[in-house]
Amino acid sequence: MEYFLELFFGGLTRGSIYALIALGYTMVYGIIQLINFAHGEIYMIGAFVALIVAGVCTIYGLSGVSILILAGVVAVIYACAYGYTLEKVAYRPLRNAPRLSPLISAIGMSIFLQNYVLLAQTPDFLPFPRLIPDFDFMEPVAHIIGSPELVILITTMVTMILLTLLIKKTRVGKAMRATQQDMNMARLVGVNVDRIISLTFVIGSALAAIGGVLVASYIGQVNFYIGFIAGVKAFTAAVLGGIGSIPGAVLGGFVLGWAESFAAGYISSDYEDVFTFGLLVLILILRPAGILGKARKQKV
């Protein structure tokens, strides 16, 4: 039973990070049917910015948690700026182009950003300070769920609740939902669609950056390549849950995290990816639109 709990919380932690990143994919897809392949790179840039801020803060003698919060805030701001610029530079000019063009543009941005960080920072692995302290009250259960996992879980839950409130309860959220349903109609009733799309990118990037900072301080290392793998996994989670659906992305993240954790724990970590992608294939056969996705009729 203890072993089950260990794997359960391991999967939950990993899944909540996947979910945070998957939200960015699914929100963008929901509005402009674009798979933003550069999203994983925003996550990586978030982690790098946090590393730089943490380095500076350590020089000024701040302590663990305050650095974490400060580094997180700066990383989110930077990531938002990147997301905003990305959309303006790479996707907006292609808004009315055939659907493949922005996809290629997205892949190009992904490669560009990876190599930019590779050249501007380093190809090596860098140590990331362990900003989340070990809480004494967690010590008895530290082997099942440690302080970093607890912080990650709480942060992602709070973030997701705030996101839900934003979408369900605010005017901006209403405009976002309207744009998602019918962009032209939304424009007709006075929604500034361009601004809503920018905002979607900004929110998605902020979530990715939060994920990046949390993972980096949990694992203790960053590298220019981490965004690619996390991005692929999160994209899988988004598809699993039903791309375009926000609760679907969260559910997909958790399902993927647990699938990986239990497959590695009970069967073999050799086949971790085989089981998770096998699960994806299975779900897509049974529900082609994903677990919570709605099958939309395509206009031919």
Binding site: G10, F125, H143, P148, G220, K233, S268, S269, D270, E272
Partner: protein, 370 residues
């Protein structure tokens, strides 16, 4: 004109034959390896090493009062050419052979030397069965075999750490998996229980599942085959999960990045790595000799080639003749001072004490354990 050329070249050939015939009273050191083609960079440094050693020894009066003569043959690292090379060296009367360089070519040529009773020493062929199969009693090498690292790690874990249960993890790559498989083989042979043998995906977000699995199997030690990024993640997560399992790994982890990235969590880990040769005086001297002669850095397998040439000629000197049994016996019993250390060869032909040491991470530094 054409006839004249043929005549001259025939005479030249005939003379050269007599020249070899008259100069029978030399020790003939055959050198075989790739000296042309794309793998030449692996063969040429050992050849140059042999030339340097022979030049130096001849200047000091040679071996057993005779001058040493080099017979250099190219095998391009190709097994089918290597057999021809070997036949040529045998017919030319080589007393000992330094080579071949590539494991495949060495294996192809060894049978021919074995039949001709010629001791062969490779500076670079690392394929384990070449010595361990026992098929080639005439074969020696001055480089550690591929499984040497795993052997060091396992022996250390059993003899020094007294482990009873071991988890073996690898990164599914050729290097890491090879190391892990050898480690598992040696553990099985020693009767130590391998409680877990699995691959992990490099670059995965975290390894908490595998860490929990190690805890569940109550492993005393974790032997990991792979590189430092995964190793750093593993040791950090083991510390996070309060695991006391000892971490043992390979040369791919013996990198400053491991110390830097894993930080405190790395302390108490063990890694195997190439021995620190910089303290051996002959090592620096050989490099300096090469630089003085060629004005460049020596390149791959230079030190091993230099050592092999020294070891072979020293064995002939100690044996007092070029007789096969006497020379192989001398190689197995007489220590010789070389750039890779003060060495002799074990019964199977591997140089003792060559290659790897175990390093412990203490206060963020690798400390070589003697």
């Amino acid at each position: 004109m054409k006839k004249l050329t043929i005549l001259i070249s025939t005479i030249a050939l005939a003379l050269s034959m007599t020249a070899t015939g008259f100069a029978a009273d030399t020790i003939k050191l055959g050198v075989a390896g790739p000296h042309s083609g794309d793998l030449a960079p692996y063969g040429i440094p050992a050849m140059k090493a042999a030339q340097l050693v022979v030049k130096k020894i001849n200047a000091h009066g040679g071996v057993l009062g005779k001058q040493v003569e080099l017979l250099i043959q190219d095998d391009q690292c190709k097994p089918e050419i290597a057999t021809n090379t070997a036949t040529k060296l045998v017919t030319d009367g080589a007393d000992v052979v330094l080579g071949h360089i590539c494991s495949g070519a060495t294996k192809a040529a060894l049978g021919i030397y074995k039949d001709a009773k010629i001791p062969v020493m490779s500076p670079s062929a690392t394929n384990p069965p070449l010595t361990q199969s026992g098929d080639y009693p005439n074969f020696f090498r001055t480089i550690a075999s591929d499984d040497m690292q795993a052997k060091m790690a396992v022996d250390f874990a059993i003899d020094k750490l007294h482990v009873k249960k071991v988890a073996v993890i690898h990164d599914k790559g050729d290097y890491g998996k090879g190391f892990a498989e050898f480690a598992k083989k040696f553990l099985d042979e020693a009767g130590v229980e391998v409680v877990l043998f699995e691959g992990i995906t490099p670059g995965a977000m975290d390894y908490s599942s595998i860490v929990q699995k190690i805890r569940r199997n109550k492993a005393d030690a974790l032997i990991f085959g792979g590189y430092h990024p995964e190793a750093s993640k593993l040791v950090s997560q083991m510390k996070r999960k309060r695991l006391k399992t000892v971490f043992i790994s390979d040369d791919g982890v013996k990198d400053d990045s491991f110390l830097k990235v894993a930080g405190d969590a790395a302390n108490g880990s063990y890694v195997t790595g190439p021995r620190d040769l910089s303290s051996i005086p002959l090592n620096a001297a050989a490099t300096a000799e090469f630089k003085a002669e060629y004005g460049a850095e020596p390149g791959a397998f230079f030190q091993e080639g230099y050592s092999a040439a020294l070891a072979l000629l020293n064995a002939i000197e100690k044996a007092g003749s070029t007789d096969y049994d006497a020379v192989t016996k001398a190689l197995r019993t007489e220590y010789v001072e070389t750039p890779v250390g003060n060495i002799k060869f074990d019964s199977k032909g591997d140089a003792e004490g060559v290659g790897f040491s175990v390093y412990k991470v203490e206060n963020g530094k690798f400390v070589e354990l003697k």
